[in-house]
Symmetry: C2
Subunit: 296 residues, 2 copies
């Protein structure tokens, strides 16, 4: 039986929020899509492109929706969440609340201030792009990608079911995970690689050889550093919001890099070959599984 379309408010009309709006309208999950953004230009562009149906003048106007999706960087998301909870009897009235931020710990902590917030469902779509802004919105972005929900203690089951249905409507596969587990997994597989890519490009850009370095960099460098073209404010917030898990990931990586450095310095070819071979095997297995998943 088809469900009745929902009204959805997108709070923060960037690439992720815009992509979700497009997907939800295309699937019929969303009837009316409201948008709110501090930047009037983003709202105007979203209206013009048909990404949203209505531009809200303030946060209060967004409270009329059935679901509100906070789609701003991690630290701003915590502030918006606290504002929404303050205006809705800690989420008991008003829309079901969810978000798309890459770190869940700081949002779970923000929600817990002032008691349980059973109708806030933390979420994180494992999909993205180095592009940003509503002009980069793509209704297929979440198709066959995973979305991790990290339900809170005393989570309202109906709210959880609604947010799950929202993401499934957008074509995603929904998985639930504990907040701390999410933040540790993402620190290792996403936040650390972003820091390493930014660090490498920054390193090269500061070199006296800078011109030649970028002139002779090739396809491997281009792919390795693609994520260094990501939004700096979003990633600043991720690094700050997930500080402890990220530091742990940086330290583990640094220790392993120091060991590889020693193998290079001492000419230990067997050690290098064993490490490279193990890494290639793990990476090949990952790539094959990903390719299969995209086909199915």
């Amino acid at each position: 039986m088809a469900e009745k379309p929902c009204s959805v408010a997108i709070l923060g009309l960037g690439m992720i929020g815009g992509s979700l709006a497009l997907a939800l309208k295309a699937s019929g999950f969303a009837g009316r899509v409201l948008g709110f953004d501090r930047d009037p230009g983003a709202l105007a562009a979203g209206l013009e492109a048909g990404v949203i149906d209505h531009a809200c003048e303030d946060l209060d106007a967004a409270l009329a929706a059935d679901i509100a999706v906070i789609a701003v960087p991690n630290l701003a998301a915590a502030a918006v969440l606290e504002e929404l909870l303050a205006r809705t009897d800690h989420g008991r009235s008003g829309p079901v609340l969810t978000d798309v931020a890459s770190v869940k710990g700081n949002l779970a902590a923000a929600a817990a201030r002032g008691g349980p917030a059973p109708r806030f469902v933390p979420g994180h779509p494992i999909a993205g792009s180095e592009r940003s802004g509503v002009a980069a919105a793509n209704g297929e972005l979440f198709h066959r990608h995973r979305v991790i929900l990290t339900p809170l203690p005393e989570q309202d089951e109906e709210a959880l079911a609604l947010v799950r249905r929202l993401w499934e409507s957008a074509g995603a596969e929904v998985v639930c995970m504990a907040v701390a587990e999410h933040d540790a997994v993402l620190a290792a597989t996403s936040h650390l690689p972003h820091v390493l890519a930014y660090c490498l490009v920054d390193d090269l850009a500061a070199s006296p050889r800078r011109e030649d370095l970028f002139r002779f960099a090739a396809g491997g460098f281009r792919d390795f550093t693609r994520i260094a073209s990501s939004d700096p404010v979003m990633w600043r917030d991720v690094a700050l919001a997930n500080r402890d898990a990220l530091l742990e990931a940086v330290d583990e990586f640094s220790a392993r890099l120091a060991a590889l450095r020693e193998a290079i310095a001492s000419g230990d070819g067997a050690r290098l070959e064993a490490t490279f071979t193990a890494a290639k095997a793990a990476r090949d297995a990952f790539a094959e599984r990903e390719a299969r998943r995209q086909q199915n």
Copy 2:
């Protein structure tokens, strides 16, 4: 005026050697392509696929060619070069010699043992793939890519011109550079990223969370680690052959990563944002220039 086709010997029939053979036959630069490989399976596959015209039984048989291209990993390349020089009066007789290895210092040193080798022209195509083996050969691989030649002291000008023409026939743009400059530039833009990518995948594969890590890794991780699917023996050789420049690059990177770690630990959002913004600007400029170059 069209030049007379050359006979070309490819010593080491892997992805790079096979791709070059295909390109040279397609362009008409090569009349007859000879192949030599220690692996009879690679030679048989190369003959079967029409990548080479004739399989040599030994190195001596390859000396009949006009040009011999050493296309094996860096340390093996040095050994093959020394063998060829020993059989050809240090390169004064026999084919013009060149190679495709990613480090030039160890080959220049090998060539210099026993006096100048004016008809050996060290070369390095800045093109590749994480795939390996003759089955991955692709005649378009070098099209619009750069090839760096690092001429040696007392370089024979005719030999240099012939190797330049070989690569231009394959569709590449040829640039000359000093050996030490080449090795420093490539250490920073290629060898270091490979070490970092191998290191990250090895790090994750050793984690007790391994299953979840690879399960929830996404597109950013896939691109960042693509080069960790590269041939381990080739990259072991690169790391050993370019040890000093690579260690310098690793140390500079590690110092910069330690500074970023401090900014994360101390919650220095301004520092993080400034670093990420500078890196994004440099990486965006690189990507735009690359895109323009591929179009022109």
